[in-house]
Symmetry: C2
Subunit: 330 residues, 2 copies
């Protein structure tokens, strides 16, 4: 893609080194072909499973780096805004290192995520608005209290932590043609994309975002930050409105494509992962399957890796999505 706006902030050697700071139970996650998905999707699908860990998402790879870094500085407190998964991860990593963790989240975030943040011992503050309002509030708290603010995707540790997934894909998958990555703030896409462009440049890096929360995708398409006034998607984990310029710059250098998918496809993707892979996926984790469903010709006969990046769902909502009669069957 070339160097829009200057060099990437990401560095493969730093990412390799980062692995040492991450609790090993988060690393070397399952990666396997799921043949049962092939008849419905028309391609070979390998799953990179990031849900079989204490926080049920990939986010703790990054919070391990953040909190390991803090340990040497004398800091005893840290705050982040979170759609729900970063907060759990920071609470988990922070607790292990004796840090006082504050998480700011939208009161509309899934109750399951909020409950788990509290259960992991963090202080949870709710804002009466969306993730971008939570970001503002977390920044204000950090300024006021003089403590470390963790900003998802902006803070390099969050990108480097996610990028370690890319190392595992490059090291263990003998050959695949494309990787489908959920696109929200951009840490996962820029991190994994950077490593694959460095170590497996033949792999097509495709970002997937909901049509109802398209800010980063529109920004990538127009090569400048595009914001939206609102979001409307069940994929709460990727529903931001204000892309971060530095992250967009990184993304422009590694993403081969960014596509938008419909809510019905996300739901169909969750149902396919349940019925054919036996996996609970939160909506953001089904974006890759949704992208295949919406463009089968593009992927026909190819070998595609999709990162199942989280499984934190409210079960009542999940049952409505995957069990409801109104949703077209696959």
């Amino acid at each position: 893609m070339g160097g829009h706006g200057g060099a990437s902030r990401l560095d493969t050697a730093r990412i390799r080194a980062a692995r040492r700071a991450i609790n090993p139970i988060l690393l070397n996650t399952p990666l396997y072909r799921c043949q049962a998905l092939t008849p419905g999707l028309g391609c070979t699908v390998s799953i990179k499973l990031e849900t079989a860990n204490p926080v049920r998402s990939f986010k703790a790879r990054g919070t391990e780096l953040v909190t390991t870094g803090l340990a040497g500085t004398g800091s005893t407190a840290v705050v982040c805004a979170s759609a729900g998964n970063l907060g759990q991860a920071l609470a988990w990593s922070g607790r292990a290192r004796g840090l006082e963790v504050t998480v700011v989240a939208s009161r509309f975030a899934p109750a399951a995520k909020l409950d788990r943040i509290r259960a992991l011992g963090a202080r949870l503050e709710l804002v009466d608005g969306d993730f971008d309002l939570a970001r503002q509030r977390a920044a204000a708290l950090a300024r006021h209290d003089g403590i470390r603010l963790v900003e998802d995707s902006l803070d390099l540790e969050t990108c480097e932590g996610a990028a370690t997934i890319g190392l595992e894909l490059a090291d263990t998958a003998p050959s695949f043609d494309a990787v489908l990555i959920a696109l929200g703030g951009g840490a996962l896409a820029t991190g994994v994309g950077h490593v694959l462009k460095a170590l497996a440049p033949h792999v097509e890096v495709i970002c997937v975002q909901p049509l109802g929360a398209p800010a980063m995708t529109r920004s990538w398409q127009q090569r400048r930050v595009v914001t939206t006034a609102s979001t409307d998607t069940i994929a709460d984990g990727v529903a931001g409105r204000h892309p971060i310029p530095a992250v967009l710059n990184d993304l422009l250098q590694v993403a081969d494509d960014a596509v938008l998918v419909q809510e019905t496809s996300i739901i169909a993707g969750m149902r396919m992962l349940l019925h054919h892979a036996g996996l609970i996926a939160e909506p953001s984790a089904a974006l890759g399957i949704a992208a295949i469903l919406e463009d089968r010709d593009r992927f026909a006969g190819r070998h595609v890796v999709t990162i199942v990046c989280g499984s934190n769902v409210d079960m009542a909502a999940y049952h409505r999505w995957v069990g409801g009669a109104h949703v077209p069957r696959r």
Copy 2:
């Protein structure tokens, strides 16, 4: 337990060597504390997850050994009886090595398991009876065709393959007090139990079987083979009636206890794994949680590992079990 009936057939050095014959994607499966289960169970629970692989159960660890061993012998065909998971595993391992695989199963086995056996390219023969009838038929086929019969739990490879899970528990879990193991034919329990008694002898090895299929547990209790006339359990993966004497002998040397659980506890266990761990478990894979639910005092405050050994369920049945009447899909 001492040497009832002679030495165990299992050997830790052989089990260590066996790892090299197993496709690495089956090894080093996730092992993590699931804190969200603690409030409901009153103890610390770590999950050893054996479902995030191409056959969604631990059985392929054993079939890798069987088929690797066959590769040097000139054999081109192999047959097994299966409750459903061994058949998938043998089909998967056999296909990778160009073997012709025949699986004999009960026509009452879950359709999802039978469909997957066929999809993996095996010839599937159904018998109008239970697993023990399938065993007889598979043995007759092997004699008639002069091909290798794989007998789950009797054939040492199936025990040694399962035993590699024990190595991973001993190597990576810093400290736990007990392991809960689904008990059916006995390969998983004898294999994992043997390794833990050798490498982590402080760990209590507890086998769990359904009250509706108690043959092996009764045999362990009475230290002699006890058969039953029938089985009545949703845990299809462990529903045998005729324990194998050599396997019982191995089990007597490593199991500290064998307990029986009710169907309602198995269902409650599946529901807890879904709601608090985000995991689809087949009934056999929820036996460990069921055992905790039935005897909370025994486990209070302890650290328990449970092996989630399979996720192959018919979704309609699964929804009935975990979702109640309001989720009638498929």
